[in-house]
């Protein structure tokens, strides 16, 4: 389940298995965000709109995108850490779309 968002937090990682974080506010390019616990930091490689996702680890083409600890789709292109994750690089793993 969702963790508590503390005042001033810029991103939210919903589950420790996730490979994406949710921007809690509009993030500019080059903002450094911490991934929980493991000491790895990621810098955004492009602006990320509030509520949208950024990759916190590189995601290979064909790899599952994990949010809420579950697969929310498949990357149909390689995604760099810190990149915007959305319809331009992710498709549903379950229902038909333009890339299936």
């Amino acid at each position: 389940m969702t963790g508590t968002i503390t005042a001033g937090a810029r991103v939210l990682i919903l589950d420790q298995a996730d490979n994406v974080a949710v921007a809690l506010t509009d993030l500019p390019r080059g903002e450094v965000v911490a991934t929980s616990g493991d000491g790895v930091v990621v810098a955004t490689v492009e602006p990320i709109q509030a509520a949208h996702k950024l990759a916190i680890r590189p995601i290979a083409a064909g790899e599952a995108v994990i949010k809420y600890g579950e697969a929310i789709g498949l990357a149909h292109a390689a995604i760099a850490a810190g990149a915007h994750v959305h319809i331009h690089n992710v498709s549903s793993g379950r229902l038909p779309g333009p890339h299936r």
Binding site: M1, I5, V22, L24, T25, A50, V85, S91, P98
Partner: protein, 382 residues
């Protein structure tokens, strides 16, 4: 105080509202129903697109929906506006559910305009009887709340839906009922939900329900995007149906799932259920109300003003921007969770308390605006 104020009905159920409903039996009676309600000061007309043609493969589903809707305990009495004598069957079925129903038949009055006076007289009689029914202390165990989301964005699964889940858990703990729906928006969340079923068989039913929908979409062979997720969902950060579903499933908190309901089916025991409805906001809402929900708790990210003609719809915004942008359409804001000024728990408690207030008579934005959307569900297409 955790009691509500409601109206006990002959059916043994309780309403938290006391409406007089003017229901069109078929589309040809819509105008008569509208004119009767106009003349009846306070009665609510509901019309729809069902023509009641012979041989309609969805007739049983639609009749069951109209009957369940009319029998909702928020309705103190129904005037059924029948076009012909053939429509009387609908009134019989409504009466069989313990609902007070009067029928006016257009063919007995020469057409629409002649029906209005007779219908308005029936409505006035029902309103008089309803006015004599005073609200009484109502146990929380008699409350059934539909859990809905519409115009979702990526905040939905982070703020309003988990907060609603907390409120849902409190309802269940108090012995009330909550119903989760919109099967297309559970694709990806089926294992998460099935693991909470009270028996393995119900777990299998949950999975079958969701995978069945998935299969039917593959058979259609269409690109579902634009429908699921919608353009608004996508703009709001939701990328796939799975992401939307995992967020949507959070509306139902952590309580065990007692069973799977057919569209418009009322559960026979309190608890948390999943109902087979589409994601369509209004088809879903009608199914929930026809299944006995006296209130709808509705989270929204993009903002939508919709409501039910006969049930209060508590609108909860996922973000403060939409709460401020659409005053008069949103009742409660979960957006404080995003900047940490509120917690999911505190908003969840606020939702629960607001539902109790609604159950004691507090009007929602949708009621004050008179939002009364209605839709019939169809499943048969060749």
């Amino acid at each position: 105080m955790s009691e509500l104020l409601g109206y006990p009905r002959d059916s043994g159920r309780w309403g938290i509202r006391n409406h007089v409903l003017i229901l069109a039996a078929r589309a040809a009676a819509n105008r008569a129903a509208e004119l009767i309600a106009d003349k009846s000061g306070g009665a609510i007309a509901v019309g729809h697109e069902w023509e009641a043609r012979p041989g309609d493969a969805d007739a049983e589903l639609i009749v069951r929906t109209l009957v369940g809707f009319a029998a909702n305990p928020n309705v103190g009495g129904v005037v059924l506006v029948a076009a012909t004598d053939a429509d009387r069957e609908l009134a019989d079925e409504i009466a069989a559910r313990g609902q007070t129903v009067e029928t006016v038949v257009m063919t007995e009055h020469g057409g629409t305009l002649g029906t209005v006076d007779a219908g308005a007289e029936l409505a006035r009689r029902l309103s008089g009887a309803a006015a004599r029914c005073r609200p009484q202390p109502m146990p929380l165990t008699a409350l059934s709340v539909g859990l809905e989301c519409g115009g979702s964005d990526a905040w939905s699964g982070i703020t309003a839906n988990p907060a609603l889940g907390i409120a849902s858990d409190r309802l269940i703990a108090a012995g009330a009922t909550a119903i989760l729906a919109e099967v297309p928006e559970l694709v990806g969340a089926e294992r998460f939900l099935a693991s909470r079923a009270v028996t393995p068989d119900i777990g299998r039913q949950v999975i079958a329900l969701i995978e069945g929908f998935e299969r039917s979409v593959r058979e259609l062979g269409v690109d579902i995007r634009g429908a699921q997720p919608t353009p608004g969902n996508i703009h709001g950060g939701l990328t796939t149906i799975e992401e939307k579903s995992l967020g949507a499933a959070r509306k139902a908190g952590t309580a065990p799932i007692q069973g799977v309901l057919a569209y418009a089916q009322a559960p026979s025991r309190p608890g948390l259920y999943i109902m087979d409805t589409p994601g369509h906001d209004i088809e879903q809402m009608v199914g929930l109300v026809a299944g006995g929900c006296q209130a709808i708790a509705f989270t929204t990210g993009r903002g939508t003003p919709t409501g039910s003609p006969i049930a209060p719809c508590l609108k909860i915004s996922t973000n403060s921007r939409i709460y401020e942008r659409m005053p008069g359409d949103i009742d409660l804001d979960a957006g404080g969770i995003i900047d940490g000024s509120k917690t999911v728990e505190s908003v969840g408690d606020a939702i629960f308390e607001t539902l109790l207030e609604i159950g004691r008579g507090r009007r929602t934005c949708s009621e004050l605006r008179g939002n009364s959307e209605f839709a019939i569900r169809r499943v048969h297409y060749d």
